[in-house]
């Protein structure tokens, strides 16, 4: 396992130039997610209408893995139905548990590659939370569940 497997170009690109890193002008759901161990924090903003994620964005502070994963996540979820979003979130979280399960997955190749760029994180157990923080937070946002999330509670 080489560092370059973890810090792939795709991840570094998203980390240095994250997409959707801005606060939405209009949003109807938002949640703050926090990783106590690292100090990573993300604030997810969602505008959803008729169970479709119209728009999604984030603000946050964190390591490259965290920021890149959040950036990829916002790209992947934008425009999706909430149902499809949950499927995708589960897929990503399973990926982080080494449970590769791409049946029933309706995503294009670009998305597939983006998500799978994070696959080698499973070999860096202390960094998994960095990758999953925003996905777990996004799920809570869409479900309009919690205002604040501590990733350590999601083990």
């Amino acid at each position: 396992m080489n560092t370059k497997d973890l810090y792939q170009d795709l991840i570094l690109d998203h980390a240095t130039n994250p997409k959707n890193k801005i606060k939405l002008n209009y949003y109807n759901k938002d949640t703050e997610g926090f990783n106590r161990l690292c100090g990573d924090s993300v604030h997810i903003f969602v505008h959803s209408k008729n169970n479709i994620i119209d728009d999604i964005s984030f603000l946050g502070n964190g390591c490259a893995i965290c920021i890149a994963s959040t950036s990829v996540m916002t790209q992947a979820l934008k425009g999706k139905s909430e149902k499809d979003a949950f499927t995708l979130i589960n897929y990503f979280l399973d990926l982080m548990k080494k449970q590769n399960n791409d049946e029933h997955l309706k995503i294009d190749n670009v998305e597939y590659n983006a998500l799978n760029a994070f696959k080698s994180i499973v070999n860096f157990p202390m960094r998994i939370n960095c990758a999953t923080l925003s996905w777990i937070t996004a799920e809570a946002t869409i479900r309009n569940k919690n205002k604040q999330i501590n990733i350590e509670d999601y083990k």
């Binding site: 106590r36 161990l37 157990p125 202390m126 501590n150 350590e152």
Partner: protein, 404 residues
């Protein structure tokens, strides 16, 4: 039953005053099997790192091992998914944690705490603090002449002011095994949480936290063939939410600012500062050791030894066993007519026999039994019937010396 098991405990290779070591003080602390010693050694030699925040390889591995022990401890005590295990420094700290955190929030003036006459000071002094600080009342469930709890009187002790019941699983003096099932079912009827001092239970009795249905179970690593410096508190998860923190420091916080602090949740809230890392890691081997022998085999082995010892000592009229409980684990205490327990202990030591004299941190029990002190015999997996023979012979030598 456990043939050649002494070979697994390197201490028995040594002589005490030229004699074989006959270790009969396991209720105080058990000897350590080679596997546990090796685990400490290996961790410091090859893998040492603090756990927690580290992202480098050593730290990751250490954290993983630390959490593996927690998982295995949970399995060991039959915890379900709503149960957590907090690491402390010993059973005493675990009990202080419960008394302090519970008391802080739920005990007010004139509230009542029920203990028993069998309790070790570790399960009395922390509650006494609440008596002093909060004006709480402590009631003691009495024992009968056999050394068994008068369980019938429990209902009468309970009032609307009763806030918690804390009771030992097994007495470290009489070996009395308390009827936790009964106590907990009575307590549940009244919605009273139950704290169990499991210090003598963990390595010697059947423990099933989930089935028992108690709220807290406190125990120590060093009495279950593990290293010193680590204790545990099993508890229903909800108490971690209810309780404020116990000790403050690194690792138990979420956010810190000059104005305020947000505490971590779950077990983290209770594990402040650098934990006994090597100790927790090595404790895993102690659990494996016990699991490999099989708890039921251990129970049988120690029960048998106790019966043999009590039977043999019956032949010695000068030996008075202090209590004869109905259900008894591998512990009993006695006095020899006209010979003080400390003299007995000194003389037995000359024969290689390690027993303790005194009140064994159970002064109330000794008062109730109207004795000043006693000699305690407590068994571990490594004891044999030969040990008992040497004990009985040594007692006779002791009597001979005093008869001159």
């Amino acid at each position: 039953m456990f043939e050649n098991i002494k070979d697994q405990f390197p201490i028995f290779k040594n002589k005490i005053k030229g004699k074989k070591l006959v270790y009969l003080d396991s209720a105080n602390s058990s000897q350590k099997p080679q596997a546990v010693i090796d685990a400490v050694n290996n961790f410091y030699t090859n893998e040492f790192s603090n756990v927690g925040r580290g992202i480098y390889t050593l730290a990751v591995n250490a954290s993983e091992k630390y959490e593996t022990t927690r998982l295995n401890i949970k399995k060991f005590i039959g915890a379900n998914s709503e149960t957590e295990v907090v690491f402390t420094k010993n059973a005493t700290e675990s009990l202080n944690l419960v008394a302090s955190c519970f008391g802080e929030k739920f005990i007010n003036k004139d509230d009542e705490i029920i203990l028993t006459e069998l309790e070790h000071h570790a399960n009395y002094v922390p509650w006494h603090f609440l008596r002093k600080k909060k004006g709480a009342v402590i009631k003691f469930l009495p024992i009968d002449h056999n050394g068994d709890l008068k369980i019938d009187e429990l209902e009468n002790l309970i009032t609307s002011k009763t806030k918690i019941i804390s009771v030992t699983h097994m007495s470290n003096v009489t070996g009395t095994i308390n009827p936790l099932d009964q106590i907990i079912s009575i307590a549940k009827k009244h919605n009273i949480p139950v704290c169990v001092d499991g210090t003598q239970g963990a390595a010697h009795l059947d423990v099933n936290f989930d089935q028992l249905g108690c709220d807290f179970y406190a125990f120590s690593g060093h009495k279950m063939y593990g290293p010193t410096g680590v204790g545990m508190l099993a508890l229903k998860y909800k108490w971690l939410d209810e309780f404020g923190p116990f000790l403050g420091g690194g690792g138990m916080i979420d956010f810190v600012s000059k104005k305020d602090i947000a505490y971590a949740r779950g077990v983290w809230k209770m594990e402040a500062g650098t934990m006994p890392t090597a100790e927790v890691v090595a404790l895993n081997e102690a659990i494996t050791f016990i699991n490999n022998l099989g708890k039921q085999n251990i129970i049988n082995h120690e029960h048998q030894l106790t019966q043999i010892a009590l039977e043999k000592l019956k032949n010695n009229n000068a030996v008075k066993i202090v209590a004869h409980p109905k259900a008894q684990g591998g512990v009993f205490s006695f006095n020899i007519d006209e010979i003080h327990s400390h003299d007995v202990s000194t003389i037995l030591d000359q024969e290689g026999v390690a027993v303790r004299g005194g009140h064994h941190c159970c002064q109330i029990l000794h008062d109730v039994l109207s004795i000043n002190s006693s000699v305690r015999v407590s068994f571990g997996v490594y004891n044999t019937s030969e040990d008992i023979e040497i004990l009985c012979e040594s007692i006779k030598k002791c009597q001979k010396i005093f008869k001159k």
